[in-house]
Symmetry: C2
Subunit: 739 residues, 2 copies
């Protein structure tokens, strides 16, 4: 995919996505889109108005005012039927799986129906169309709601057979929504509160890109972000963090539906959740609307969405009071319908109660027919947008090229040449400062590079000097100011990363405070969101702040986490190498653990070495048989190098290995691994100012690991290194124990 | 300390504390307290009124209305001088350390002075006196404020030499407040938001104990919890979680001062924090007061405290608008004064500006004299309380015995006999259910046992059946309902645990959601808060909920964390064993990873075995030389046992080892370790449905580890075990590779 013509842009993106979901053969590329798109969309428009009024609900022009879509023109009986279809698809799937959460889909079906059938703009045959509205089910346990909607809307990812294999091995319909399994799912939710934070990230991305790329005559970026969150999400701290930022940033195109059903797993929310949510959101700078009858008040819901869209300077919370498990005569409005199948008898009773004569998994023909328009409508929406983008590209070629890079994830040729390189003569510096050089170099050449810190920009060294702050009035800028909200920051960055393949968000705090955002970081790893975590103050080397601020177990804890790269660079070249890989790895997040303290530029380090994860930086042995191998990372690689010099002066052959990224080393060939850590050499010493947990695998049964297996202490860093025994002498002594 | 007379109660506690702080010789036991306490306190009272009006600020009767203490009777000039003393002690200490945070102490000195000098009831010579008011500096970076206060108030833990060794190795004045280093510090803060959550826990503990033990004629439990939090704490999600619960519970004796200084590290809070905090706290059910002049408005502060105390059904937030770095002519009201020494020149300018002629670290004589009354007053307060408690004990011996157990941490004799035991014939069960049997057994015999779940009580199986819910109107009950607020839950439990040695809080969620509360769990470990973490759904064995809910790396991540016990019991006996240790270990938190799925009661497991951390449950070898050692934990111990049977049938000698708690095994003698894992036997196979990270240390260089190094999947649990290769066959095959 060396070059991408603007016309094939969304198709290229789709092809990319398909290549990721390699085993999925169901997504067919839309037929090549011709320049006749404008007339094509006019034709569709005519066809629409000649059949039912419903078709007019889909605006055709990219810039159509979205509130136009909200006229309650749909025949109420078909809405009822469609809503009940959603309810029963959820009921039936959970019943068949004997596992799942029917309560939320039953209660939220009305608002969800209106969103997917009347309001949202999407193309079911290309779930990755750039300008689609985004939807996030923050209350991810209710995923059958989303699967039912995708099924009705015509997404190929959720066919009837998928609904029938809900929560089964290898299905497209896992127990919580997973973007990496099911095209049409934007983000991975389930752990509560993550989704609303992701939605803030998605809305931020839209606001940023719109501000950067839209022109008075061409709004090529223009979509809404919708989210449904429940009482559980509302209780989580991360949601307050993210909502506070959304209000601060004035994300007017973020519309959140709060499923206010007063039930959580432990029963009535009265037992633990009696705050005034409306008032809290008003305090956070949101516009708040209350839909009192979320069960059948379709027009109320429509009016609320219309009002929300009219408020453009604030995000909107629509509190929709619903009945969990609506329709179930004996279980509605109780926790028993939250997370378990209704049971055969109650399913029957619910069918009777809602007047539903159909067999399980049946979509009534009129419902099917009603929803069938979304396939042509979606295709037309995308075609129209492609035409708009083509016109934009002609008029604004530079901007179009940048935006295209963001849309496709194709990095500009030669971007990596912008990364700084160093020689041993280059001045020593803290890796957090070297990191800042990389960040600023990358931001100049990578259009989708943006990020910031959780109120530690001046400590994490994360400011992009060529840009201003992303703020309500300056959303085109790229420095994000997250405040002291680590968890929200992580969730927001996941949303940014999953908005477009070429958006590369970084975020920063002290390494120890990954503890505050680990929930979001795990979702980065699981959902293949290539966020870059810039984590400074990475050891006792931070000194006086003491043990509350000194990470010890954190390196080990991330090395144990799947699909995340844990880098601990030792100097400038290694920092640049870590960034090179982090930028490239769009489906694997990266963490960079960086020093507060100054470090020298070491001989032998290299970007190429970092790409191998572990590599030799110096060796005076021959025949792959050193007397001892010293392995270090980050700030302790210098200590290993110094110890090697001492030992070499005493006539020993010593290899010094930088183990900057264990995960990348694991990926290397056996031959390469043997060339670095020959199995015949059991004399190995590791040194790292952190827990030795896990090092046994590297140094082997006879090896020695120097580290810190207790909490740190408050004192100047050099003294801490001495007191905790992270010294050249300790390495030399350990090495000598082998001779 | 087999028996503790009521009179010596607080002294016993003090002695206990001293034995913990073994190296600290500074705390002297108060001289034996005689029954003459009443007259003694009267004498003090007379003495007080004969000298200055100030002495009357300390109420003598335990039940004295606290608002009486708030008359602004103190001569303003001495208050000014005292406030400036606090400011300059902070300035001087940071200057000497060339590291630290002068801004907050300079801005918060007025409110802090009023609290410690006019409002709070404490005994500086016994920081552990049970009925003391608790103070938490949630903005822990401002710890010099606290050290200055403790110094002025007469605490022996912070002498002038300690102030001069601020942030130095081995000092009592580390870079953030550490309860385990400095008597007088209640909890460990620094990571933002933790302190306010701790304070909620402290206030909860008071409300609970007061409801359980106070009588109309004897309020033996009666104290306030004060906290200062800053903008940073306010932004953190954990603080919203904890504040929401505090409002829900109506913790009327929790009074929080919000240091509203508009500055955080990155600059003006306008860049990231524009929400309406007052309105948010009102929404959370708090009473909110605004002190507009926190810099010099002493009477405003006093009036606010008076008002806060008058509101007994809600916690109060006093927003105190201050100037960070107040007094510094060139750095006040800027981020530059937040976290760095002022510098010699600016210190001089500040001295001039505030009219401070004294040399560094000088406490003017009149200030010293003014504060000196707190030593006799504190002693009298405690004496009075001891007298009250003695009377209480006479009248209510049973309640007194229970309360005493909570105050001292001495468990009732034979408590451990309440734990259930099992034989292989006992019915199999999920360890989460077996855990519930233990929790209920313990709650009956351990007076300070209380806890609950983050909205998963029915899944975590944590309800205490003999008790109701701790709620606003029923605070005497012991089931805590945290809602979906894991991080807040952890922080609150730390507060409960550190309130009294005999309060043993447990809290629960799914194991994977430790990611949401890891910040608090690390503080449990660091601050020696013996919280019990009941973490169910501990592997892919939870099945259909899928990878968002399936822990993989979590066992490894906690095994790498210092001072926390990570248990993964396999059946009933091991679950009981884990609880036995967890209850005993009051200075080390414990995590129990428990299964959702049913497990058999295995032959060979035992409480005694668990106490060793790792132990043999079956072996058909002799001479400590089995052909192979199979090591398992939790739900996979059964698989190891089954594999052993297969191998034994084939004539092999096989040892099966349960490795239920790595940390406890590490503590055993080399002889014991050798008896379980003989160095001569390198044929070892581990099996655990989790990351194999770290197992290299146990199985050795030639051993094999069966586990899961990727994320899980959504499907029924038995199928997941098969698909991920966590099977008897896999263990047998691995074992056979050695033969």
């Amino acid at each position: 995919m060396a070059s991408t013509s603007s016309l094939a842009l969304s198709q290229a993106l789709l092809a990319r996505a398909i290549s990721h979901h390699g085993s999925d053969q169901r997504i067919s590329l839309p037929s090549p889109f011709s320049r006749a798109s404008a007339s094509s969309s006019r034709r569709r428009n005519n066809a629409a108005s000649s059949t039912t009024k419903l078709r007019t609900l889909r605006p055709l022009a990219v810039r159509a005012a979205a509130v136009d879509t909200l006229e309650p023109t749909t025949d109420a009986s078909i809405v009822d039927k469609s809503v009940n279809t959603i309810r029963f698809l959820a009921i039936d799937a959970v019943e068949k799986a004997k596992s799942g959460h029917p309560g939320l889909p039953m209660g939220c079906a009305p608002m969800a129906h209106i969103l997917y059938d009347e309001v949202m703009r999407y193309n079911p045959k290309n779930p990755y169309w750039f300008n689609r509205d985004r939807f996030v089910l923050s209350a991810g346990h209710g995923c059958m709601l989303l699967y039912a909607l995708l099924h009705l809307a015509g997404y190929d990812s959720v066919l009837e057979e998928d609904l029938k294999s809900f929560r089964q091995w290898g299905s497209k319909t896992p127990g919580h929504p997973e973007n990496f399994e099911t095209p049409g799912i934007e983000v991975t939710t389930g752990p509560l509160g993550q989704g609303i934070a992701n939605a803030v990230g998605l809305a931020l991305a839209e606001k940023h890109l719109a501000a950067r790329f839209n022109k008075p005559d061409a709004e090529v970026v223009d979509h809404y972000t919708y989210v449904i969150l429940g009482d559980g999400c509302q209780m989580e701290g991360i949601s307050n963090e993210a909502a506070s930022l959304a209000g601060h940033w004035g994300l007017g195109k973020l519309i959140a539906f709060y499923d206010d059903n007063h039930i959580s797993i432990d029963g009535d929310t009265e037992i633990a959740f009696t705050e005034n949510v409306d008032q809290r959101f008003e305090a956070l700078g949101w516009h708040v609307i209350w839909v009192k009858n979320g069960n059948t008040g379709y027009d109320e819901i429509r009016a609320a969405i219309k009002e929300a869209k009219a408020v453009t300077d604030k995000p909107t919370l629509i509190k929709v009071t619903t009945t969990i498990g609506y329709g179930s005569p004996n279980k509605a409005n109780s926790y028993s319908v939250h997370g378990a199948a209704l049971g055969e008898k109650e399913v029957e009773a619910t069918r009777n109660n809602l007047g539903w004569p159909y067999e399980p998994f049946k979509v009534p023909d009129e419902v099917k027919s009603h929803w069938s328009r979304h396939t042509p409508d979606g295709k037309a929406l995308e075609s129209d947008w492609n035409a708009s983008f083509a016109a934009y590209e002609k008029k604004y070629p530079e901007e179009a090229a940048e935006l295209k890079s963001i849309i496709t994830g194709e990095l500009p040729a030669g971007w990596e040449k912008a990364l700084p390189t160093y020689t041993p003569e280059s001045p020593g510096d803290a890796t957090r400062n070297l990191s800042q050089q990389c960040l600023n170099a990358l931001a100049k050449v990578v259009p989708g590079f943006l990020g910031g810190s959780a109120d530690l920009a001046s400590s994490n060294m994360t400011l992009l000097k060529a840009f201003g702050d992303f703020q309500k009035a300056t959303p085109e800028e790229r420095n994000l100011r997250f405040g002291v909200r680590e968890h929200g920051m992580g969730g927001i960055c996941n949303g940014i990363a999953l908005h477009s393949p070429g958006l590369i968000p970084y975020c920063a705090t002290f390494f120890v405070f990954t503890d505050y955002m680990r929930g979001a970081m795990r979702i980065s790893a699981l959902s293949e969101a290539g966020v870059i975590y810039v984590m400074t103050h990475d050891s006792i080397g931070l000194g006086e702040d003491g043990p509350t601020h000194q990470p010890v177990e954190h390196l080990a804890s991330f090395r144990a986490m799947p699909n995340i790269l844990m880098f601990r660079p030792a100097d400038g070249n290694e920092t640049a190498g870590a960034y090179k890989i982090a930028v490239t790895k769009r489906k694997t997040p990266s963490i960079l653990a960086l020093s507060r303290q100054k470090l020298p530029q070491l001989p032998g380090t290299s970007i190429e070495g970092v790409e191998k994860g572990g590599y030799t930086i110096s060796d005076n042995s021959s025949g792959n048989k050193p007397d001892v191998i010293l392995v270090g990372t980050g700030s302790e690689l210098e200590i290993a190098a110094q110890a090697a010099e001492v030992l070499r002066k005493e006539g020993k052959t010593v290899r010094v290995v930088s183990f900057v990224c264990w995960e990348l080393f694991d990926e290397q060939t056996d031959e390469y691994k043997e060339s670095v850590l020959p199995s015949g050499v059991s004399a190995r010493v590791s040194i790292e100012a952190a827990s030795t947990f896990g090092w046994g695998k590297i140094v082997g049964g006879e090896g020695k690991s120097i580290g810190i297996n207790s909490f740190g202490a408050s004192a100047p860093a050099p003294l801490l290194y001495k007191e905790f025994g992270i010294t050249v002498e300790a390495v030399v002594d350990a090495a000598k124990s082998f001779f």
